[in-house]
């Protein structure tokens, strides 16, 4: 009777699955150096093209090309390379420690090191990041965060600064511009906007930087963050780390198919960029551009960082169940450490020898930190914060009922 075919439910799928290679053409890459760099006071609606292109600086031979290639101090690049190497070494060792049951859980950022590290080096101290669990690079890029303390938290031992209350990787370092990580996805995204609004209300000069994964953009707080940031022109950088996966779920299920996460920003009236997240120079340049906008009262910028989650989601995950085992090897944006190393060697600011020496030195550093942290206890050896502390910090002052409960526990 009707002229129409039956309706059908469409369910997106990745092209690759275990035993079947991924066709990465879905990524729509732009060649390095080809995407324009508008002035920082550009109108948000005028960034529409940038939300679909990909800002890249490093070409395949390691040269820095195009309008986003800034004259960056090689000293800073070397610092960045070392921080990325340190992050990768740190992750690798902590993974082993988790397998040895010294800690309950771990999450690495393998393959995504450039994003947090270059971002950290492009911000000012005093700026506040609202990270997810995959931005340990923000901390490891800084000189003022003690690895021993971080590992004490991972081990949930008696020096754990979170007093044993948090999952291992859920750090909080106010003094280092690192907001307390929540286990509930996306909540920090709107909080960052609130922090930025507060800075604006108080006439501060510090800005906020909000972090979220591709998968978590489907949560409400992504939308509220974009809305509030746009309405009040909040001085905030809205970072979406699109590492293609959310546990077992391909980014198309979060809405990445046929559009980009950056495009969401433009729709909401926010200047937006889509950037090669494995290109240290592009990350640094784009962050600087966005930070400049925020500091000049020009409002928020959304940046989609395109990268790949090279490791399992967490120590509870086994990606070989849902994607090709060697997927990362084929990911067209490569390895951020290898790419920056090639660049530095190409410009004569680094060498294989220096790289090897740095690798050894950093391995020793991390190992020493781990050893020291373990001397304060690990999850399983009983050297942990006292049960009495469990009742503290629920409120500023402990109410009567918690005193009674603590007493009942007999601690």
């Amino acid at each position: 009777m009707t002229q129409y075919e039956p309706l059908r439910l469409y369910v997106p799928e990745p092209t690759g699955r275990p035993g079947r290679h991924t066709d990465f053409s879905y990524l729509h890459l732009s060649p390095a150096g080809e995407v324009r760099r508008p002035p920082v006071d550009t109108q948000p609606a005028d960034t529409n093209d940038l939300a679909y292109e990909l800002v890249r600086v490093l070409d395949d031979t390691g040269r820095a090309v195009g309008p986003w290639a800034a004259a960056t101090d090689p000293q800073l690049l070397r610092r960045g390379l070392r921080a990325m190497m340190k992050t990768r070494i740190f992750d690798a060792r902590m993974l082993i420690a988790q397998r040895q049951k010294k800690m309950s859980f771990y999450m690495q950022c393998l393959g995504e090191e450039a994003i947090a590290v270059a971002h950290a080096l492009a911000l000012d101290s005093g700026d506040m990041c609202f990270p997810t669990y995959r931005q340990q690079g923000l901390l490891l890029a800084r000189e003022d965060v003690d690895m021993v303390e971080m590992i004490c938290q991972l081990l949930s031992n008696e020096r754990d600064p979170m007093k044993g209350r948090q999952l291992p990787v859920m750090y909080s370092y106010k003094r280092a511009g690192f907001f307390s990580i929540s286990g509930n996805l996306a909540t920090q995204f709107i909080q960052a906007v609130g922090w930025a609004m507060a800075a604006a209300i108080k006439g501060d000069t510090r800005i906020a930087s909000a972090w979220i994964g591709d998968g978590a953009t489907a949560e409400a707080d992504f939308h509220t963050a974009l809305t509030f940031a746009h309405v009040y022109r909040a001085p905030v950088i809205l970072n979406v780390v699109n590492n293609q996966w959310a546990i077992s779920t391909f980014q198309a299920i979060a809405g990445g198919e046929g559009t980009t996460f950056a495009a969401r920003g433009v729709g909401c009236g926010i200047a937006s960029l889509r950037v090669d997240g494995n290109d240290f120079l592009a990350v640094h340049a784009a962050t600087r551009w966005a930070a400049e906008r925020a500091r000049r009262n020009l409002g928020p910028t959304l940046i989609e960082w395109v990268t790949y989650r090279a490791g399992p989601h967490s120590t509870s995950d086994d990606p070989s169940k849902y994607r090709p085992a060697d997927d990362w090897a084929h990911f067209p944006l490569g390895d951020p450490i290898a790419r920056l190393k090639t660049h530095l060697i190409a410009i004569g600011a680094w060498s294989e020898q220096e790289h090897e020496a740095a690798q050894k030195e950093l391995e020793a550093q991390v190992a020493a930190a781990q050893k020291q942290a373990e001397s304060y206890g690990t999850l399983t050896d009983g050297h942990m914060r006292s049960a009495a502390e469990m009742f503290e910090d629920v409120y500023k002052d402990m109410p009567e009922h918690l005193r009674r409960q603590r007493q009942q526990l007999g601690v």
């Binding site: 506040m128 609202f130 600064p161 979170m162 007093k163 209350r165 948090q166 859920m170 909080s172 370092y173 106010k174 907001f179 307390s180 929540s182 286990g183 509930n184 909540t187 709107i190 909080q191 960052a192 906007v193 609130g194 922090w195 930025a196 609004m197 507060a198 800075a199 604006a200 209300i201 108080k202 906020a208 409400a220 707080d221 509220t224 963050a225 809305t227 509030f228 309405v231 910090d393 629920v394 409120y395 500023k396 109410p399 009567e400 009922h401």
Partner: protein, 341 residues
């Protein structure tokens, strides 16, 4: 010298609390839906934007989650945001930010960050608002450790508690029984409304003062029966006491949780009988916790089962509002049952 007082409605008292705090503390900001230029749908913030400027008092998008989420971020920065949820019935989109974030931030960060925020919300029925303008969700908040939940029953307490809430370093859910905004409503919806200007608790000091959190008030002393209640039900219970002639001691919790346990335990130990009254839905309402606490602490003093009077376990209906509302007749009947046994 006693401070100068003025007759105020509850709305004026709440506005005065915000006015005092905006003036005293540059970190206080006030925002929410329609609270800026217009001054709020209940006019609680009228005039404040004109007085303190648009970056201290402003309109927010219709996003309760965004309002509370930004408040948590502002709190982490060092501000003391006071936000309005237009009706308590609309707090649900903010649940995650309230429960997982505001309530737990201090704990999970071991004090590194805190959320000293106040979330105001009009609650309760009696205005033909139907199921989405009448709810009393306080019980849900009391199950969330880290939150403080407060509900004033009169202008004096409203101002003093709101100032205490804003000054408190913990997140405070501040519930305002909207049926009390203009007068001490005793449940007799068919009688003319009595204005606050005719009630002693409508006399409110002009400047700064606090009613401490975690302190209940003995609203009406009595010897035969203890009534534990808060909000609108304080006046309904008073009417029931007068109408039944039972010498009921009415305790107005004011701070619902954490609460002032001693005041109620002492009273029940004295009277041996207890009725718990609230407007919210009965099952797993805060009356359940109150009943549990009283039986735990006063078991050997109790001469009869603790009675609970509450809204029925249905959504708040529109046309049958007064059959739903636990008015003086239903409360009085419970008083009698508690006395009979």
């Amino acid at each position: 010298m006693t401070p100068k007082t003025t007759p105020m409605t509850m709305i004026q008292a709440l506005r005065s609390a915000m006015d005092v705090m905006l003036a005293r503390d540059p970190n206080v900001v006030v925002y929410g839906q329609d609270v800026g230029f217009f001054g709020g749908v209940f006019r609680c913030t009228e005039g404040l934007q004109a007085k303190y400027g648009k970056s201290r008092v402003f309109d927010a998008p219709i996003s309760e989650g965004g309002i509370v989420g930004t408040a948590v971020g502002m709190g982490a920065y060092g501000l003391r945001p006071v936000v309005e949820i237009q009706f308590a019935d609309y707090f649900y989109p903010a649940s995650d930010q309230i429960v997982s974030e505001a309530a737990r931030l201090r704990y999970r960060s071991a004090g590194d960050f805190t959320a000293p925020i106040t979330i105001r919300m009009p609650c309760g029925g009696g205005i033909y608002g139907g199921q989405t303008h009448s709810q009393s969700p306080e019980a849900l908040f009391t199950h969330v450790c880290g939150l403080r939940t407060v509900m004033p029953s009169n202008p004096y307490d409203a101002k003093g508690l709101l100032i205490a809430a804003i000054e408190c370093d913990d997140p405070v859910i501040f519930l305002e029984p909207k049926r009390l905004y203009n007068g001490p409503f005793d449940g007799h919806h068919d009688k003319p409304v009595v204005p606050w200007s005719k009630h002693p608790l409508g006399e409110v000091p002009e400047g700064h003062y606090t009613v401490p959190l975690e302190s209940a008030s003995v609203f009406r002393p009595g010897s035969e029966l203890t009534v534990i209640t808060y909000g609108t039900m304080v006046f309904v219970s008073e009417a029931a006491a007068i109408e039944t002639g039972i010498d009921a001691e009415i305790i107005d919790l004011r701070s619902i949780w954490p609460l002032d346990l001693d005041t109620l335990v002492n009273s029940v130990k004295k009277t041996g009988r207890c009725v718990v009254v609230h407007e919210a839905t009965r099952t797993s309402g805060f009356g359940a916790e109150l009943t549990a606490l009283v039986q735990e602490h006063c078991f050997y003093h109790l001469e009869a089962p603790i009675e609970r009077v509450a809204g029925w376990d249905t959504p708040y209906p529109h046309a049958q509002e007064w059959a739903y509302f636990p008015g003086p007749a239903r409360v009085g009947a419970a008083f009698k049952r508690a006395m009979e046994k």
